[in-house]
Amino acid sequence: MDFLSPEEWTAVALSLRVAIWATLVALPLAIWVAFLLARRDFWGKQLLNGIVHLPLILPPVVTGYLLLLTFGRRAPVGAWLADTLGLVFAFRWTGAALAAGIMGFPLMVRAIRLALETVDPKLEQAAATLGAPRIWVFLTVTLPLILPGIIAGAILGFAKAMGEFGATITFVSNIPGQTQTLPSAIYAFLQVPGGEASALRLVAVSVVIAMAALIGSETLARRATKRVMGA
């Protein structure tokens, strides 16, 4: 395709990979945290709630900087992960996914939590009387009922991951082919006088991808809602 240079295609593919991984990995964790916040009472709940919201409150650059201080090669957590699990984030696409996942996390948690809070506990009670242990109640009743919320959370996370720039570039820099996501490429174009047109091309690609995901998710969510609401 002539529309984008090979390097730009690489950035598109990378952004997709980053956004998909960020969403998929963060989602189960977001469901769990949302569940804790919506249904459990424990010491430090408000603290957890605050930490979850931090990426929203902090300027992205700060988040990226904190990530660097935590998950960098020299940082304690980063070094430990690299040594024991062989999981390296610094200057890798995995780091971009981590940053994107963290930035989208509060959005996912909120959406899922909101859905959880409207599930009628009476249905869960009914499931329990039918012999379902807690985890089964969750999997067979709660989870399907909050599906619209999970889809909403996932699409918010995905969109955010597609657009995330500040934390990503601060944490993993911009290495073409490895960590250069679409937003980094767009940013670079915008730094150069006359780069607007090129930037716009990439913006268009980004928007098309996100819209496709959005419409897909709407369809899924509508189906899920319809199932729950009847007919």
Binding site: L68, F91, T170, I175, L190, V192
Partner: protein, 231 residues
């Protein structure tokens, strides 16, 4: 009588010292707005209420000049700078030759965006001039600005980085391990100009002060150099 100055973010410390001194001398206040040179230039295009533009990048100044947004005759090169190779404090001096890649020890060379941000553009030019670029390019981590690249070295995430001398001087956690020869890259200049729309009566006085000996002394103290003569 208040002057609003749009200045490149990398000049923050130095310019703040100068403005404070000017206020002490003249009793007038200079309001300083720091952001990326590109963002500031676009804002000026959009009619920002700025009196003076101090860029780290002559490209953006050229563009404003073409659009007739600069008061004619007010543009000049205010300062110069030097490009250096830095490593975390204690790093041994490093010759600018093919051993550079080994010195990275598998790590990354931190630079500003090599296509977009001036420090990155100069750095890439210098490496090309030295015949090192092709080999080292895959190992370059590009930050969104030169200070972010500096930070990567300062916290030890990158074993080496290319930054301005001014940055290296301000950061105690890094040592200069090599200086790039002036001919290896285009001259580094910080152009300044009064904007056509400026209404502040003190703007000329402030510009004169910036060019004057007191300010120059402060700038030099922060590591800036006289502007390069050839233009």
């Amino acid at each position: 009588g208040q002057v609003t100055v749009f200045a490149a973010a990398s000049m923050k410390t130095a310019l703040e010292d100068v403005a404070a001194d000017w206020q002490r001398q003249s009793g007038h206040k200079a309001t300083l707005s720091f952001a990326g040179s590109s963002a500031l230039a676009r804002q000026i295009e959009a009619g920002a209420p700025a009196d003076l533009y101090l860029s780290a990048n002559s490209g953006w100044m050229d563009r404003l000049e073409e659009q007739g947004l600069l008061r004619s005759g007010s543009r000049s090169d205010l300062l110069g700078n030097q490009l250096v190779l830095v490593g975390p404090a204690g790093t041994a001096p490093q010759p600018l030759d093919s051993t550079l890649i080994d010195a990275l020890e598998g790590g990354h060379l931190a630079m500003a965006l090599v296509e977009a941000v001036p420090a990155g553009i100069y750095g890439k030019a210098a490496l090309e001039y030295l015949g090192l670029w092709t080999d080292i390019a895959p190992h370059v981590a590009q930050a969104d600005n030169v200070r972010a690249a500096l930070a990567l070295v300062a916290i030890g995430e990158a074993p080496l980085g290319i930054v301005y001398a001014t940055d290296a001087q301000a950061e105690p956690r890094v040592d200069v391990v090599a200086e790039f020869p002036a001919p290896s890259h285009p001259p580094i200049t910080y152009p300044v100009a009064i904007l056509t729309d400026s209404k502040a009566d003190t703007v000329q006085a402030f510009l004169d002060y910036l060019k004057g000996p007191v300010a120059k002394k402060i700038f030099l103290r922060h590591g800036f150099t006289e502007p390069p003569q050839h233009k």
